[in-house]
């Protein structure tokens, strides 16, 4: 394909995946300021939800500063051209949450499952489609499935009614060749009017080049976050991706300098810690572990004295998938007991 004539929809993640980096404590004013800045910059799709999707408010994932209803109600009425999406992970959220989001004006619902478990999404994708929503299937931890398996799972989501399917590199583990193989296989498996998306994490500093590789293989929706605000070492930094697209002649419809200003003037000052590839975030990408485990592992290190990096490696060995945040403390305690740091 010819990337020089390509148009891409950039989907901002800073108000959903970015919730992980903020422990789900973004204020309503911060949400409004970022969303309005992105709207003016020409970003057409902005996700607003608890980091773990609708209904994610929990001990396991963290209680947010405000409910999904409050965040969505604060942002949606202010948007001049941008549309707002919500994430839903079956097993955490239900169709009741989907109906609530739809009622508040959410136009895009993204239904996420582990990359081999697409069949749990039938109820939710089906309802999204029946409600006339832009309905997206989101195959997480896509590095854990072969391109062929992923294509088969993508076909299931398409058969339930998804008009777009994502290859989601939740662990920031994939190399560009892994992305190419998966996007190509999914592209070939789906109808030509079904869109393909890619969601990257920056744990190996490959999110921008991986997103470009995805576009070159047929993806036309790319997730990115202002200043990269997201789990682990963050998502694909939106302003960097837009700059690279501009250089390559890929149209995003986004004003680069306005996007830079949102990142620099609003998002960076509200970060709890500098978003960078520290040794723990790097280990997520290296071991293939779900990016939102990062801050939980750091907290477990504080409490149990086992280095976060070693907890992350253990979670990789145990083949943990997205949502198993409970196993971080469990693994830390088991390691602490084995090292004599805690009574057995």
């Amino acid at each position: 394909m010819n990337a020089t004539t390509r148009k891409v929809t950039v989907h901002d993640m800073s108000l959903r995946d970015g919730m992980h980096a903020k422990r789900h404590r973004i204020t309503l004013d911060e949400m409004r300021a970022i969303a309005c800045g992105l709207d003016v910059a020409g970003v057409r799709l902005i996700e607003v939800t608890h980091g773990d999707g609708l209904g994610g408010a929990s001990v396991n994932y963290g209680f947010p500063a405000f409910s999904d209803e409050e965040y969505l109600s604060a942002v949606i009425p202010l948007m001049r051209q941008a549309k707002v999406s919500a994430l839903l992970i079956p097993g955490i959220g239900t169709v009741d949450h989907l109906r609530m989001a739809h009622g508040l004006g959410v136009g895009t619902i993204r239904v996420a499952t582990h990359c081999t478990e697409a069949d749990v999404s039938e109820q939710h994708i089906g309802l999204g489609r029946r409600l006339g929503m832009d309905t997206v299937g989101f195959l997480m931890m896509a590095h854990m499935a072969s391109p062929e398996q992923l294509a088969e799972q993508a076909r299931l989501m398409e058969s339930y009614g998804a008009n777009c399917v994502y290859v989601t590199d939740s662990a920031g583990f994939m190399l560009p060749e892994d992305v190419r193989a998966r996007i190509t296989a999914v592209r070939e498996a789906l109808r030509c009017d079904t869109e393909i998306g890619f969601h990257g994490h920056h744990n190996l500093s490959l999110s921008v080049i991986n997103s470009i590789a995805a576009v070159e293989c047929g993806a036309n929706r790319i997730d990115a976050a202002a200043a990269g605000l997201g789990a682990g070492a963050g998502n694909t930094p939106l302003e960097v991706f837009v700059a690279v697209c501009n250089r390559m002649g890929i149209e995003t419809g986004i004003d680069l300098f306005k996007a830079q200003d949102v990142a620099e003037d609003i998002v960076v000052p509200m970060m709890d810690r500098p978003l960078r590839v520290d040794r723990d975030a790097l280990t997520l990408g290296y071991a293939g572990v779900y990016s939102s485990f990062l801050l939980f592992a750091k907290r477990a290190e504080q409490k149990y004295g086992v280095p976060a990096r070693e907890i992350v490696m253990e979670l990789g060995r145990r083949r943990m998938v997205g949502g198993q945040e409970d196993m971080i403390e469990d693994a830390a305690i088991t390691l602490a007991k084995a090292r004599g740091l805690m009574p057995v």
């Binding site: 929990s58 001990v59 396991n60 079956p90 097993g91 955490i92 239900t94 169709v95 009741d96 582990h114 081999t116 478990e117 069949d119 749990v120 039938e122 109820q123 939710h124 854990m144 409490k303 145990r318 083949r319 943990m320 998938v321 997205g322 949502g323 198993q324 945040e325 409970d326 196993m327 403390e329 469990d330 305690i333 088991t334």
Partner: protein
Amino acid sequence: MGRKIRCALIGSGNIGTDLMMKLRRSTVLEPVWMVGVDPLSDGLQRAREMGLKTTDQGIAGLLPHLRDDDIQIAFDATSAYVHRENSDALTARGLLVIDLTPAAIGPFCVPPVNLRAQLGRQVMNVNMVTCGGQATIPVIAAIASVQPVAYGEIVATISSKSAGPGTRKNIDEFTRTTSAAIEQIGGARKGKAIIIINPAEPPLIMRDTVHCLTDSAPDAAAITAAVQAMVSEVRQYVPGYKLVNGPVFDDRRVSVFLEVEGLGDYLPRYSGNLDIMTAAAARTAEMFAEEIIAGRFDPRSLQGVAP
């Protein structure tokens, strides 16, 4: 050997087949019928091999035989969507129905917490909640027996291979039914349930985590003792039920990390989620059967009474 109460199993999937194997060991229950819809299903084939009567015509294939075969208890392991119809047909004919779907028409039953209380209520339908509910609600109830629990949350992780098509299609019903039972049986004022399916190979043993938020500072010693006692009680009917870590205390949070290994009756031992459901259902039915045998409970006298 004394008298046995004759039973029918409806649903020849993973749960129904595992339950059949457990009932064959019971001293008070006798599995007589296995009902399916797919003549080629593994469950129906096994039932035939084990000498049960079978039908692939669904419940319609069973109803004409209930009286002649003296069936008094039916287990429904189909799906929440068809359970109501099944239950109405069976209770109208005087059967006690043990519901293993998340339909939750009848009262919830989690044996170590409220089975004794169910026996006196003369109900015709009891619901076994969900696998995650059976694995965690005893622990929530143990914590709530020490001090008030404002919030109870559970995370159940099951292996991909042990999650059948019913569970997958019913995933919202799992979270709704489990949350409701956390409140009604567990004693938490607000409940939340999360389920994760993990495809790792070799398959992971079922894991269950309980997080509670207590109203006041948790009494660590009393809660630890109550949780350990409850784990021993569950182990009486699910020997592979194990406290891996905890209780952990962090301000008002109490977290308990559990593992459920199965007996490997039908699916391999990693499928503790099957065992804890089927073992709880079998234990519940046995207690009712003992009541029937002793003449203290007669479901036939209650036929037509709404559950």
